[in-house]
């Protein structure tokens, strides 16, 4: 059994991770994956002060792994999936770099699509990571988004206020 959760500074190879998941299980007929990357907000807004030169990711070692393991357990309860894998990077990252990967396998596509989105929505609001962006005015901590809480709420997950 492969590790379900990896927290690392190194980059990851999505194709390699998907190969590991699908080649180890002949029941698999669908793999759904998501990759989150570092965005330079200036490219979206055209505002110079929105430039993201780099990003630093901090986490709560131990709690991070435990919380994501619990999310994967919950995904297995809710969806008919075979395996789920989450890789999240920490440390210094630059625009276009990969941050996070979620990959899920199932017999048919519907369950892995849903489980992949569920895991990302869960991770965004419950896994203890914090992003700090370095821009033209210096470093600033990224604010949590209300829309992320709403995204998790639609799955009916009970979380603390």
């Amino acid at each position: 059994m492969q590790a379900r959760v990896r927290i690392q500074t190194e980059d990851f190879d999505l194709s390699h991770e998907i190969d590991l998941l699908r080649k180890s299980d002949t029941r698999v007929g669908a793999v759904c994956s998501f990759v989150g990357t570092v965005r330079d907000t200036r490219a979206l807004t055209g505002q110079a002060h929105d430039e993201v030169k780099s990003m630093a990711l901090e986490h709560y070692a131990g709690m991070t792994e435990k919380s994501i393991e619990a999310m994967i357990d919950e995904a297995h309860i809710r969806f008919d999936i075979y395996q789920a894998k989450v890789i999240h990077r920490i440390g210094e990252l630059a625009p276009t770099d990969q941050i996070v990967m979620v990959a899920v396998t199932s017999a048919h596509r519907g369950e892995s699509f849903k489980a992949c989105e569920f895991l990302m929505d869960y991770l965004k609001t419950q896994a203890p990571f914090w992003k700090k962006e370095l821009g033209p005015q210096g470093a600033r901590w990224v604010d949590a988004r209300v829309s992320d809480d709403a995204a998790l709420a639609r799955w009916g997950v009970q979380t603390l206020p």
């Binding site: 435990k66 949590a144 979380t159």
Partner: protein
Amino acid sequence: MITVHLRYFASIRETLNCSNEDWQTSATSVAQLRSELLGRGPAYQCLSPDKPVRMALDQVMCLDSATLQDGCELGFFPPVTGG
């Protein structure tokens, strides 16, 4: 008295200029301990219930009503922003 291992993360760690410390207390709940910490000085206002601070007891998200045990770990941090 019990010992609680306090952990601070992200903007809270920077404001307090501290990532972890051991705290001796007679507090039995997270709320009581939080009140003690608020009394340590202005910097600790970042832990106020009025602020968007999250807490985890032994690495599981918790509320003010959670009960402390000797040797437990209590983390304070802002809302998470990973992914």
